[in-house]
């Protein structure tokens, strides 16, 4: 159905998109305009749907460098590395704020403009909605048969009674009615479907809500990572977290004071068929306290099944193996005895790499680099892993002695060995099975591979914007659906006397018959269905009129 113009001045019609109702003849380019006109024009542009969409697109576009370039907040080391590898480009990018996109002034500008655009769109819209809800529908047109949908039938009722019956029927359907002041005409205007604007408004408000929620998450949320070996405990405090990415208004004191112990981690894998080696289940059994000295609670964490503690969610995001090494130095002292997490790549059946640093071995510091394989096989003389479960675990290590470079006070990664100040003790990688030892040359000591335990990597997130964002998202969808499904529609009824009153005994115009005209129109009918609704209404009106006529006939005769 094409856009239908109501025949009379109509607030409903003027409630069009700002784009449509803009003032085309007041474009600044067209002639002399004052400062205020420019301001009005600018505001109209900003709050137009077109600009809002452009801003939304820019917001998405602006986030792209945030995922392509290393960011200060999440990867300061990556930024440093970028500076060394691109010495000319990096300062320029830094100047543009591309290493901290979400804090960059231009990003904030887009965000705030979008916010202003939405507010500027929603506020006038609300007033228009309230206005249109308070304004009565227009008078019924004179000739209803000219409307897109119409019906006409005779009724054995006088026009006043016919209009009254029609009013009862339409009011029963939830229509808002307008009836003439006593001017000798009998007509009725009825309007329905105000929920359409409400839905539209809800959609815009919910979009604002999503923006606010995202900002809430960015300001008050945090994300942290921690690798936890089976049998060990960690506390949710900054110094015990491996990585911590606080929101702009978050301090270390905002971390929930929980502690968590990984009691056991089980992973099972499909053992046969094409899916062989694919994980079938993960289960981390933990015990935790929500505050220091609190009771120990038991919980389970699996992939996509986080545990909620202290308002934070603890996700299981990875796992691996930590071979246990015991190292004695040249003096026979045990200088190292602990599980050491080895890290696996994306593939390779948990072929994992790691390092062992023994800074307090005498006479020289010791270091080892190597791999752990859960199911060791040799393919072409190369150690590989045939299955992710630990069916035949083995390690292969190269030993070094010398200066680890730790004592200078510079923090080091526990997964990297700086061999610059070290010399290699063993020429080839030495393969060890559980219980086997590697004797270092010249009586420098012994390393024993005593076994292994699993580890899990946990991500702790707190996002106060998550729930509001979800609610707002659902509300936006609901609003959009409402505005698509609900039509603003009008039904008009007119009753005219259809003939001279037959000579009655007492002059009561009981025998007056009417011609009832019904007309219907809807402004937009994207979802269709008004035609059917109109047909039903028309039939109902007709039967109500017939019924009313039948009821009064006996007493009239």
């Amino acid at each position: 159905m094409t856009d239908v113009r109501a025949p009379e001045a109509d607030p409903f019609e003027s409630a069009a998109e700002p784009d449509e109702r803009g003032t085309p003849n007041r474009d600044p380019a067209s002639g002399a305009l004052g400062f205020t006109d420019w301001l009005v024009w600018g505001w109209r542009q900003l709050t137009s749907m077109r600009i809002a969409l452009v801003l939304l697109f820019l917001l998405a576009l602006g986030s792209v460098p945030g995922s392509m370039l290393p960011q200060e907040g999440t990867d300061p080391a990556g930024v440093q590395q970028y500076y060394t590898s691109h010495p000319a480009l990096a300062p320029l990018l830094n100047h543009l704020g591309l290493f901290n996109v979400f804090a960059a002034p231009w990003f904030a500008a887009i965000y705030l403009l979008l916010f202003a655009s939405l507010v500027g769109c929603v506020v006038p819209r609300t007033f228009r909605l309230v206005g249109s809800a308070r304004t009565l529908p227009p008078r019924a047109p004179r000739y209803l048969t000219r409307l897109p949908l119409s019906a006409e039938y005779p009724a054995a009722l006088d026009p006043a009674r016919a209009a009254e019956v029609a009013a009862t029927v339409l009011a029963g359907h939830g229509f808002r009615l307008r009836r003439p002041a006593d001017d000798g005409e009998y007509w009725l205007s009825a309007e329905k479907g105000y929920l359409r604007e409400v839905g539209n408004l809800l959609f815009h408000l919910a979009l604002l809500g999503v923006l606010v929620s995202v900002a809430l998450g960015g300001l008050f949320g945090y994300k942290a990572d921690r690798l936890l070996v089976q049998g060990t405990t960690f506390a949710d405090t900054q110094s015990a977290l491996d990585e911590w990415y606080p929101g702009r208004l978050v301090t270390a004191a905002d971390l929930g004071p929980f502690t968590m112990t990984l009691n056991q981690f089980d992973a099972s894998y499909i053992t046969s068929g094409e899916q062989r080696g694919q994980p079938s289940s993960f289960d981390a059994q933990v015990s935790y306290t929500t505050h220091p000295g609190g009771p120990a609670l038991a919980g389970n964490i699996a992939v996509n099944r986080p545990l909620s503690v202290d308002g934070a969610k603890v996700y299981l995001i990875g796992h691996g193996y930590a071979p246990i090494f015991k190292v004695t130095d040249a003096r026979g002292q045990v200088v190292y005895n602990q599980p050491t997490p080895f890290i696996s790549g994306a593939s390779g059946n948990f072929l994992s790499q790691g390092v062992v640093k023994v800074p307090d071995a005498q006479p020289e510091q010791l270091g080892f680099t190597g791999v752990f394989v859960p199911t060791a096989v040799e393919i072409g003389g190369v150690l590989q892993s045939a299955f992710p479960a630990a069916d035949n675990p083995a390690v292969s290590l190269i030993a070094y002695a010398g200066n680890l470079g730790e004592n200078s006070g510079v923090p080091q990664s526990v997964y990297q060995l700086n061999t610059a100040g070290m010399h290699q003790l063993t020429a080839d990688p030495q393969l060890l099975l559980p219980g086997q030892s590697l004797k270092l040359p010249d009586g420098q000591g012994t390393l024993t591979f005593t076994g292994y335990v699993p580890w899990v990597s946990l991500t702790i997130t707190h996002d106060p914007g998550q729930l509001p964002a979800l609610i707002c998202g659902i509300a936006a969808l609901g609003g959009l659906l409402l505005s698509f499904m609900v039509r603003r529609r009008r039904v008009f009824v007119r009753a005219r006397a259809s003939g001279p009153a037959p000579a009655g005994t007492d002059g009561v115009p009981s025998g007056v018959h009417s011609t009832v005209q019904i007309g219907g129109l809807t402004r937009t009918d994207a979802s269709g269905g008004f035609e059917a609704e109109f047909a039903v209404l028309a039939a109902e009106l007709r039967s109500a009129h017939d019924q009313a006529a039948a009821n009064r006939q006996p007493e009239g005769e």
Binding site: T233, S239, D360
Partner: protein, 194 residues
Amino acid sequence: MIVLVATVCAGAALAVVLLTGWATGGNNGVTDVAGSTSAVLYSAGHRPLAPDFTGTTLTGARLKFSSYRGQVVVLNFWGSWCGPCRAEAPTLAVTAQQYRPDGVAFLGVDVRDTRASALAFARDFGVTYPSVSDPGSVITLDFTAVVPIAGTPTTLVIDRTGHIAGAVFGTATSQELTDILAQVTGKTAGAVTS
């Protein structure tokens, strides 16, 4: 309409926050140690009470922190895996010896570590004072409630009443320790010449 007004107000507040950043309040009662960026002194009346804890030392003895009440205690959070801790270890070992006659006790909290590595560290650096094992950072967590411990090393100086009088966040220098201890013990540390 109320919802709308609330949303607009929230938006405006948000804009102000985003544009200006959060104004941080002054740190009442906390002063920097002269010439240091990472050491602070808490003035009397603003000293946070140190939480009590019990633990097992590296040599297997039970230790209750409250038994140190009445003594000035230097509490050092460290780990054998931590490079900056290795760098400051000789300073701490020497300072502990120097202040022993003044009745200043040194105590370590060995964080995210194992007994074998920690004992080897103590042997290596000649650390003679005890350390309590804190593999799960639980003691650290207790202290984080009163002082902002961001990692190891962190050194706290606790007065005779069990209140935290000074702190060094990061590698402690001999000068920083001396300055804080001079304030807390009320002596200008005759044992130290620097």
